[in-house]
Structures are given as structure tokens and as C-alpha cells.
Symmetry: C2
Subunit: 355 residues, 2 copies
DNA sequence: CTGAAAGCGCTTACAG
DNA sequence: CTGAAAGCGCTTACAG
């Protein structure tokens, strides 16, 4: 049950293995007639390339790497990653590439994986996520020479290619929107301050609130987990000068935040408006459904892969802006006077029940 | 900047490449002294194996494959998969293996991926999930000779090795528990009927309700999505003979179900008890938190990998039972007379607020 | 215990 | 346009 090799094809076609290789790979070096004959024989024999042989001689693996450094429990809940991965997959599939995937505990382990992958030539390049303000991975990747793109940045990504979303603009728009609804006291349950995009959002948040003359905007730091997000929400809603609107840096915490309002006997959105950064099915699961900042996460993943393959192909590093997240108003935001923001059915229903 | 190969080591150590290979792989064939010397030189040179070369000559890739045939949107939300994958990863990492991962639309595409992977020898074996009642993948994998284990079954997995959970026992226990709380009308929002484990649960559900003399138990079929799950819940709760307890076949639908009760002005658990099959952070996010059937999903993934590597190593097919899911009572279940099931803080709180 | 050699299945300069 | 050959970096029988 031996699988056919190019040697078998060459023999049947009465040509050299080299000619077969050229024909199979669409390279010049064989006549149209010969190529056609070779292709027919290959199809007849059911030939498929041996990836190891190809990788060894061509010194490329046709495989891209992705490592996620988060505890599994957190990962499982964040729809972001699966969507991102599935966008990566779609693009990879189009280009007949595979994805080598690994989950690790922290950036140190992540770097170890990169070293191993690259020294074994298991991958041609990697997509890096969750950029930190001080991120050791950037320097290591540059030193290794492992082709990489950062989904994040562009600040702090060194000389690596970045694909980034304009969180500054998105945050500014969001604060302006809440201010237009009459909110004067807006608070934020932010992500880990060590992360680059958290910092970007925090700075934009503060700048916008100052510019619009709102009360001192407060950001409570979290680790993105539902527990800590709930705790932060509880603290904010217990303060004497309670905020009338809260922005959550991810959907998981926003959902936990809704739970806290119920627990405290507060109505959403009558007593407090909530907005989730990153939209997902999770945001439609709650009652009322969550107003959220939506972006096409799988397109973002696909975009990252396209750029990475360019880098693998020798392209110069660049900085590419992806689409800016846009607001999807649902049932958790309202004017400060209590009117609901829009006529989304669930939003209306919530208003009716709650007030 | 050429990376060292075993030839470099052999030259430095004044031995043959073969000897180096034996030394590096812990094989017999070299003296202890020589081995030690070779290892030292390899470390000094910073040698690491080239995976392609190793795969080509040893005809194994040291890589395991996993393909998930679900729409990305659904995937992202189900914590199950990320937990399962992370369990797989942990085990793989221990054994210096990689994971090739792919998301596709359906089983036909999944089979195509298997064929490609196996013919290219990109993987040594695969873990199969989401077994259907009639599952074409089983036959294809057997025919291909691609080593595989099914996480599911054991019925319907043909001659493939299976790692399964006793859903029959878990369902029986669950129904008995609800009956003990006084529930006479128990309904179920089930998964897709084409899936093997859905069928197992449905049969167990019906058997248990009959045996306990409960009203005709009703299962509403779904596709596991929040939308359809919500619709099913709405239908059940609108019927004149409303159930007092509902079992959901996944956590996503259970969360959506809580939303429906709020929308219909019903209290949980005072008016209706809810139970989620598969526990995850999602179940702690709701208010009140969801009573759920918990199992160690990442251990399940790790177990699957261990068995798969045995199969890859030539082990005979077998059928291995994993741990049975166990009930974690939280705030969404109560005695039919309205007493709460336990003194979980959130459960108490919900009782106070709602009733 | 050790060495020399063949071979895994491709790709890619290098000659014709 | 085509062919013969070397080589990618390992592993593994096969002799000594």
C-alpha cells in the first residue's frame, strides 16, 4: 500500500523527477504537453505531496504558528479568540497552509515555543496577539528572525509588521455618544494595564472625557476575568457618586456586570447604561442584550494572515490599519432621562419591564 | 547563520552521523561516554532537530490533528472546545508533540482535511469529536488507516478507539435529582438529534421519566445555538402545562433560557428550575448562577490524546470510559415548593430578590 | 559498541 | 525546454 512518489510519476511519464516537480508546481521548465501528461498521471496515481519531503528540500513548512498565552479557563470564554482563529483558518485554507496552535501559560513559555518552532522550522511565521506595553516577545522575534506580524500595536511592536485597530478613535466615538445621551459620569472597567491596547483605550478615554468636560473619568483595572470585572462593577456602583454609564473592556466582564446590577437591585439601562467592548454572541444572550463595540474579528484574523504571508515572502515590515470598531446599540444604553436609545425590540421590552 | 546539524556534531565528536542520531535519541548503539560527549557538543552548538528531516526519514510528524466542523460563530461561544483543546495541548506539550488545528464547515470538509493530512503525512493521528448517529467519518478513517480516537461513543464509533462519558448515567442522576426536588413536569432543550450523545441523553431522559412516573417528558430539538435554544424555551414556557424544570443540553442555551424567563416575567428558580449540561465560566456569569452538570473537559482532552498516542504506537483499539459528569447545584434549581436547593450565596440572594 | 551507507520524497541549481 | 545529480537533515538497517 505504498503511496506514489514523483519517482513513480517520472517513470510512467518517461521524464526525470525534476521535470515532474516543475510540472506539479506550475514552474516553467516543461512543455505544455509534457506538463499535461504528467498532471494526468499524477491524478491517476492519486499522488499528493509529502509535506515533510517538501519542507526539507524547500526549507519551508507551509505552516503558520499561533500561540495563546492565557489560562484555558479564560480562553474558553472569550469568543474573540475562536473568531480570530477561524478567520486565520479561512485565509490559510485558501492558500493551502496549516495552522500549528499552542496554548501556554505566559509569555516566557510562548517565547520558548517560538524558539522551538523556528529552530525546528516547524512554522514559516507566527501571528502575535495580546501585545504588552513592555513586550519581550518583540525583541526575541526580531533577533530570531522568525517572520511575525503583530495583531495589535502599532506602538510597541518594534520593527515587526502590525495590523491594528484604531482603539483611540473607537473610544473617542463611544464617549462622545454617551455624552450625547446626557451621561456626565462615565466609568470604565478596563483590561490589564500591562496591555498595550488597554493603555491606548485608557488614554483616549481620559482625553475624551476631559475634552467633553465630563466628571473625572475613572478606570478600574482588571485581569479581564468575570470575577474581577464583577468586583469592579460592584465597587463602581456602590460609590456615592455612582456612574450613570460603564464601559467594559471585554464582553465577558460586561455580562458579569449585568449580573451585578441585578444583584444590587439596579435596572439596566434605567439606572445605569452598560457598553461592552467586543461584540459576540455573548452580548445577545443577556437580558437586555448588550450594547457593544463590534468589529469583524475573523476578518481581522484573515487580514493578519495575509500580511504574515507577505512577510514570509520577504515583504518589508509595514503598519496596516484594520477597520475601526463600531457601536451597535442594543438594550443596555439609554438617555440619562430614561428614554431608550433605539427601538430594538429587546431594548423596548427591557424598558417596559424594568421601569 | 547556518544552524548546526548532526553532521556538524559528528565531525566535532569524531563519530558518524548515525552515532550522533543514536545518542541524541537515547537509543542503544553508543557507549555511555560517547553519548555524553555527543550530548555536550550538541548542547554547546545549540542543536535542535529539524522536524521536516526527522519526519521524512522516520515517517512520523510528531503532530496530532484536530478539526472542528462548526460555524465559527457557534464555536467561539462554546467554552467546551477551548477547554478541550487546552487539555489536548497540555498532554501534547508533555510529549513534545504539536497540534495541527483546523476549523471547517461540515463533515465533508472535515474528511477532506483528514485525507490531505494523512496523504501528506502531516499528522500521525487525529482526535474526532461530535460523533453523529450516522457518521461517515468513522468509515473513512478506518479505510484510510489514519490512527484516530473518538471523543464520544462508544456506540457508533465502529472499530475506532473511543473515550466516552456516561451520559446515560449522568442524565438518570439528574432526572432523579429533579424528581427528588418534587418536579413532576421536566422538559428538555436538547442538542441536534443527529448527534450521538444527544440521542443517548434523549433515550436516558425518557427512560428515567417513565421509570419515575413523571409526566410525559418533552425534548425540543435545537442546533445548540442561543437563538434556537431561546425559541425552544419560549415555546416550553408558553404551554398551558408549563414545565417546572428544564434541562438544557449546553450552557449557551441555558444562559439564553435565563434571558427568556426574564423576558416573560418569570422568576428563576421560583417559577422554573434550569439546569445546564456542561459547566463553564458562562454558568457563573448569570444571575442567578446556573446549576450545571460539570465535567473536567480539559482532562477529557488530555485523556483522548494519551489514548491516541497509544493507537499511533500500534495499540489495539479500545473503549475507555472517562469520568461521569456530576451535578453542581447553584442558584437556578429549587424544590417545587419554593425552598432553595442549597445555601449558595447567589442562590439565596436570588430567592430573596425574586420571591 | 561503532561506522559507512542508503534512503526518506521532494526541490533546485547546473549542464546540455 | 529537458535531464541527471546533488542536496535538504535526519533515521535505520546492515556490516564490522
Amino acid at each position: 500500500v505504498k503511496r506514489p512518489t514523483i519517482a513513480d510519476i517520472a517513470q510512467r511519464a518517461n521524464v526525470s523527477k525534476g521535470a515532474v516537480s516543475y510540472a506539479l508546481n506550475g514552474q516553467p521548465g516543461v512543455s505544455a504537453a509534457t506538463r499535461k501528461r504528467i498532471l494526468a498521471i499524477a491524478a491517476e496515481l492519486g499522488w499528493t505531496p509529502n509535506s515533510a519531503a517538501r519542507a526539507l528540500s524547500a526549507s519551508r513548512s507551509d505552516t503558520i504558528g499561533l500561540v495563546l498565552a492565557r489560562p484555558a479557563s479564560t480562553l474558553g470564554l472569550e469568543p474573540f479568540f475562536m473568531e480570530f482563529i477561524s478567520g486565520i483558518q479561512a485565509e490559510l485554507q485558501l492558500r493551502s497552509r496549516g495552522l500549528l496552535f499552542q496554548v501556554v501559560a505566559d509569555h516566557a513559555e510562548e517565547v520558548a515555543v517560538y524558539r522551538r518552532w523556528w529552530s525546528a522550522r516547524s512554522v514559516d511565521g507566527v501571528v502575535v496577539v495580546d501585545l504588552d506595553v513592555e513586550d519581550a516577545r518583540v525583541g526575541v522575534l526580531s533577533d530570531l528572525g522568525l517572520p511575525a506580524v503583530v495583531a495589535g500595536g502599532p506602538v510597541g511592536a518594534g520593527s515587526l509588521t502590525t495590523i491594528w485597530t484604531d482603539d483611540d478613535a473607537a473610544m473617542t466615538n463611544l464617549v462622545e455618544y454617551l455624552a450625547a445621551l446626557g451621561h456626565q459620569r462615565i466609568a470604565r472597567v478596563g483590561g490589564p494595564p500591562r496591555m498595550r491596547h488597554t493603555r491606548t483605550r485608557t488614554e483616549a478615554f481620559e482625553r475624551a472625557t476631559v475634552r467633553l468636560g465630563l466628571r473625572a473619568a475613572q478606570t478600574v483595572d482588571t485581569d479581564f476575568s468575570d470575577d474581577v470585572g464583577a468586583r469592579a462593577t460592584r465597587a463602581l456602583l456602590s460609590s456615592p457618586d455612582r456612574p450613570t454609564a460603564i464601559i467594559f473592556d471585554n464582553d465577558v466582564m460586561a455580562v458579569a456586570g449585568i449580573g451585578v446590577t441585578a444583584e444590587m437591585g439596579l435596572s439596566v439601562p434605567a439606572d445605569v447604561s452598560l457598553v461592552a467592548w467586543d461584540d459576540s454572541v455573548l452580548c445577545r444572550l443577556t437580558h437586555p442584550p448588550l450594547t457593544a463595540l463590534n468589529r469583524n474579528v475573523s476578518a481581522y484574523g484573515a487580514h493578519s494572515v495575509r500580511r504574515l504571508l507577505e512577510v514570509v515572502g520577504g515583504a518589508d515590515p509595514g503598519s496596516y490599519r484594520d477597520a475601526t470598531p463600531s457601536l451597535v446599540p442594543r438594550g443596555t444604553t439609554t438617555r440619562i432621562d430614561g428614554a431608550i436609545t433605539q427601538d430594538h425590540p429587546a431594548g423596548v421590552r427591557a424598558g417596559v419591564i424594568r421601569s
